[in-house]
């Protein structure tokens, strides 16, 4: 087994820097605010009661999941069409997709729980819900492509193409499901939908949630992209060490 010895002494003992620590601290404060505003200060809804509080997790999760997939597409495009075919852009794309899949999962679970209370059913074949579910599976496929065998450059190129194809898929899936559902009667069991009228404090709580989740996303993205860079570096060092060892064998 090859051990990796750093050539220069580094003061960093992890992937954290001053910037990530500040972002992490802000994210923690905003999440605490969200708990206070979402669970205590904001009022219950007239129709939905306390169930409306799920919105403070659900809506920021949706926003974050789609933001993550936009970042994945942008990173993929920069890697594929950029002159230097930057691996850093590929790492950002991969890290963002991992976070996006987690938050898309949170979106689906929180949406189903909210739907059970407001619609009376866990699932409706609504265009937004169905598109989100299919997108969730597509990005799991994207992550599977990232874990295939191959050289680092090969993997980056393949996953960049799959990342961009997934973007092409979003409008087509949404269009088809919307057209499909327009032919059916909507099955609203309790006669209410998720469009709630928001008062000032509810809207502010939602805003706090979006800011808190965005900060969590940035913090996770930076750490994950740096972890991926360390993994790439370790693989490169292993290769270099193996080459040196072979040369030594040849010299002896």
């Amino acid at each position: 087994m090859t051990t990796i010895t750093p050539t220069t002494k580094s003061s960093h003992r992890g992937t954290g820097t001053t910037a990530t620590r500040v972002i992490g601290l802000l994210a923690t404060v905003m999440c605490a605010w969200l708990v206070v505003f979402g669970l205590i200060l904001s009022p219950a809804d007239r129709d939905q009661g306390d169930a409306v509080r799920i919105m403070y997790v659900h809506v920021p999760s949706v926003w974050l999941a789609y933001l993550a997939f936009i970042v994945t597409a942008a990173g993929s495009a920069i890697h594929l069409f950029g002159r230097r075919h930057s691996l850093q852009a590929d790492r950002v794309a991969g890290a963002s997709a991992e976070i996006g899949v987690v938050f898309m999962g949170v979106t689906l679970v929180s949406g189903m729980l909210w739907g059970r209370i407001t619609w009376g059913v866990y699932w409706q074949w609504d265009a937004r819900l169905t598109t989100t579910a299919l997108l969730f599976v597509s990005y799991i496929g994207y992550l599977a492509v990232r874990n295939l065998d191959g050289t680092r450059e090969q993997l980056a190129r393949r996953s960049a193409i799959v990342g961009l194809l997934a973007v092409l898929e979003i409008p087509l899936v949404h269009w088809s499901v919307k057209l499909w559902r327009s032919l059916h009667q909507e099955a609203t069991v309790l006669g209410t939908d998720l469009d709630v009228s928001l008062d000032g404090l509810m809207l502010f709580s939602l805003f706090v949630g979006v800011v808190a989740f965005t900060l969590v996303f940035v913090w996770l993205l930076l750490h994950r992209a740096r972890t991926m860079a360390v993994v790439d570096l370790a693989a490169q060092r292993r290769l270099d060490d193996a080459l040196i060892a072979r040369r030594r064998e040849g010299g002896n």
Binding site: L134, S138, G141, V145, Q154, S176, L179
Partner: protein
């Protein structure tokens, strides 16, 4: 250049179809598999009225399942002897290879679909109206082009990779869902199932055509970098 690409595409398509004709995999394995699927659907649903109502969906589901086998086979014959590497080494235009594999897939899938529609008419008792024939044929061709394009793109990506049997459905099925929805609804309109009329099928043809054009164009550019070593 365009002429060369067309010649390459036709050579690859002819080669793939010749392999299929000589190996009899399509006729001796894939077609019987699709027919068994249709029989199994009947066992599972167990009511002629239900079968008649959902027949178009069952036919297109069977097409999707068969497509997985056809695509995996189309790329297994390329990777087994390093044929794709040889084509690349010979400086072949990979978009020509994409179109060749695409054409061969379209032909094979149309044969499968033909057999499945005949099976649906005979086994499930659905009746095709005269006014629905044009809609059924055009929507089937558009849907097949879309499926063949995504099959070729993702088949190329998964070629030569261990575990591609499980990876391919994970990548293809979510992307293929608009085709499944569009092709099923337009076939329902063509057969007049559920009180639909043929004119209700045309918006779906629009969706299927946009899907096919988008993925054929993207595939012709993306295929080279995807299979490139």
């Amino acid at each position: 250049m365009a002429n060369q690409r067309r010649r390459l595409a036709l050579s690859v398509a002819r080669k793939d179809l010749r392999i299929e004709r000589r190996s009899h995999v399509l006729t001796a394995q894939i077609l019987p598999f699709t027919l068994v699927t249709m029989v199994l659907f009947a066992f599972a649903l167990d009511a002629t009225s239900v079968l008649q109502r959902v027949a178009p969906g069952l036919v297109w589901l069977a097409v999707l399942f068969s497509m997985m086998i056809v695509v995996q086979r189309a790329f297994a014959v390329e990777t087994a002897d390093g044929a794709l590497d040889a084509l690349r080494s010979a400086g072949a235009d990979m978009s020509g290879v994409f179109f060749g594999k695409f054409i061969a897939l379209v032909v094979q899938l149309i044969i499968v679909e033909g057999a499945l529609w005949i099976a649906a008419v005979l086994l499930y008792g659905i009746e095709l109206r005269l006014g629905g024939i044009v809609l059924l044929v055009t929507s089937s061709i558009s849907a097949t082009c879309g499926l063949a394009a995504i099959g070729t793109i993702y088949g190329g990506l998964a070629s030569g990779i261990q575990g591609r049997e499980s990876l391919l459905p994970l990548l293809v099925l979510p992307v293929a869902s608009p085709v499944l929805i569009g092709a099923t609804r337009s076939a329902e309109a063509a057969f007049g199932i559920g009180g639909t009329v043929a004119s209700e099928g045309w918006p779906w043809l629009g969706l299927l055509t946009v899907f096919a054009v988008a993925f054929v164009v993207v595939g012709s550019f993306a295929f080279g970098p995807l299979v490139d070593d």
